[in-house]
């Protein structure tokens, strides 16, 4: 079953005009911001397919910007997101993607803020539902529908076991898990889609584990 619950049919609450081009785009922007972990100072969006063709009429540019400002899909400031971005000191740059993206509605977002950089590739696949294909250059498959933890670590034996045992100790069920590495013994990323949101202290504990470099909580289920 592709649709799992009643709110994927009735909902989301959103600012129009298109669940794919607007609501989905807001969610993609929010995932990107969560990955960066702070207000971006500069954002570069490369649009592919239908996003590139019709973003102007659907407000996809405003919606992506709104997501980067951490607005929810029904935030009434979305139509003025460009002005809000200026207020927040965020510069946006729009690039027409060459070739095909991974889906007819895709975008690559590169973000800079503080001394951090983040990059995601994602698509809006219908009714406001999104698919994230890549986080900071690692291949992933997440939806943002569940609280998600992305852990960057060294590819070493036992890292996954120590992460999953912490989640198990807290009684948090893993709905989906994904591992990708740059190469043997090199940098790796593990993502967990969880049935319930973890406490901040759990994230702190994960960060202290050997070989763990970065832990990011991407939770769109909490309203901003």
């Amino acid at each position: 079953m592709r649709f799992k619950n009643v709110f994927s049919i009735i909902g989301p609450s959103m600012v129009g005009p298109s669940s794919s081009h607007t609501a989905g785009a807001v969610r993609i922007g929010r995932v990107a911001r969560k990955l960066l972990g702070c207000q971006p100072e500069k954002a570069q969006m490369t649009l592919f397919g239908s996003f590139a063709e019709t973003y102007w009429g659907h407000g996809t540019d405003l919606a992506l910007t709104a997501g980067l400002l951490n607005f929810d899909t029904d935030d009434e400031r979305i139509p003025e997101a460009d002005l809000e971005a200026e207020k927040a000191g965020m510069v946006t740059e729009w690039v027409q993607g060459k070739g095909n993206g991974p889906h007819p509605n895709s975008v690559k977002i590169s973000l800079w803020g503080g001394d951090r950089k983040a990059e995601i590739v994602a698509a809006s696949i219908g009714g406001g539902t999104i698919a994230v294909y890549s986080l900071n250059g690692f291949d992933v498959q997440i939806t943002g529908e569940y609280p998600t933890i992305a852990v960057t670590h060294s590819d070493r034996q036992g890292v996954l076991a120590s992460l999953t045992s912490l989640l198990s100790r807290e009684g948090i069920n893993i709905g989906y898990m994904d591992v990708d590495r740059k190469g043997r013994s090199e940098a790796a990323m593990t993502v967990f889609e969880l049935d319930s949101a973890p406490e901040g202290s759990l994230i702190e504990e994960m960060l202290k584990l050997p070989h763990v470099l970065e832990v990011t909580l991407i939770d769109l289920t909490q309203r901003s």
Binding site: F3, N5, I9, G11, S13, P17, T54, G57, G127
Partner: protein, 310 residues
């Protein structure tokens, strides 16, 4: 969820002596691990947004960002007030309300996707007008949204609710089926009758292509929402009168999938076929593209320092 088809859903309702809304609410709570009260509260919030959108669409500025649409809901509402409409008061009200929400959507206002943004006018149009007419309280309508949600859940999983996948029959068609079935249950009809209403409604939407001008959710999406609200009321009345869908609703949903899959790509939300490809559709698209180029050029020039400072 314990059901994959409308037949199974009606069967559960009959066996447990429950409405479709009650089954959906209980199953949703079980599936998500969130209490039924909390699930209900979330849906009640959505209903408030729908009511606000109706109001905003009838009174506020609904000019779309492209400038192609806006203001038609108010025209229809004013026309009705001036005398007897061809359709008759209650249906015309549902139509005006559906147009109102769809126009709010096109103007980047707040709506609930039911099931999508392109089809967001039909359920509020039918629900809010029926509430005023029959004096129902909000909770009753919120139950109705669970009925609509259960029907949409079956359609989405067995056919499609996406225009890009299945054409407009999947967006506006699904919404009409959902509104028709919900209206039957709201008026005291059985789950079986509600399912017949879905079958009757969907039969009249089969083959509807998704052909938005310039790819935007405006032409013909908005008027299709207005007309869809009327079709939903008609299908509900037929079912309440005892008319059955001779081809069972689940089989009609199967046909929707078949027809949607057979539809050429140009008729599935590309803005390249159907009404979008008419001389007027192309002309409007061209004008919008030119307008955008002009604006982009102006923005670029405004950012560049004057040449003598280089």
């Amino acid at each position: 969820m314990r059901f994959e088809t409308l037949d199974q859903l009606a069967e559960i309702c009959l066996k447990e002596n429950k409405t479709i809304a009650e089954v959906m609410l209980a199953d949703q709570a079980k599936e998500t691990g969130i209490s039924a009260d909390e699930v209900f509260r979330q849906m009640a919030e959505y209903y408030q947004v729908m009511k606000e959108a109706v109001q905003k669409g009838l009174t506020g500025n609904t000019k779309s960002r492209s400038g192609l649409t806006g203001g038609d809901a108010k025209k229809v509402a004013d026309y009705m007030r001036q005398g007897e409409s061809s359709l008759g008061g209650p249906s015309a009200t549902a139509m005006a309300y559906a147009l109102a929400v769809s126009e709010v959507n096109a103007s980047m206002g707040r709506i609930i996707a039911t099931p999508t943004a392109g089809s967001c006018g039909i359920i509020p149009g039918v629900f809010v007008s029926a509430q005023e007419r029959f004096g129902w309280d909000d909770d009753k309508l919120v139950h109705g949204l669970f009925t609509a949600g259960a029907i949409g859940f079956v359609i989405a999983n067995n056919a499609s609710i996406s225009g890009a996948e299945g054409g407009c029959q999947a967006e506006v068609g699904s919404a009409i089926g959902m509104a028709a079935g919900a209206m039957v249950e709201l008026r005291g009809g059985s789950a079986q009758q509600a399912v017949h209403a879905v079958g009757l409604a969907l039969k009249n939407c089969l083959g509807l292509i998704c052909d938005p001008v310039a790819g935007l959710v405006e032409i013909p999406c908005i008027v299709r929402n207005g007309l869809g609200a009327v079709t939903a009321l008609a299908a509900a009345d037929m079912a309440l009168a005892g008319v059955g869908s001779v081809i069972p609703a689940d089989e009609v949903i199967g046909v929707m999938l078949e027809v949607g899959s057979a539809m050429p790509t140009k008729h599935r939300e590309t803005g390249k076929g159907g009404l979008a490809a008419t001389p007027t559709g192309r002309k409007l698209t061209k004008e919008l593209v030119e307008q955008r180029r002009r604006k982009a050029k102006e923005a670029k020039e405004a950012k560049q320092p004057p040449s003598d400072t280089k």
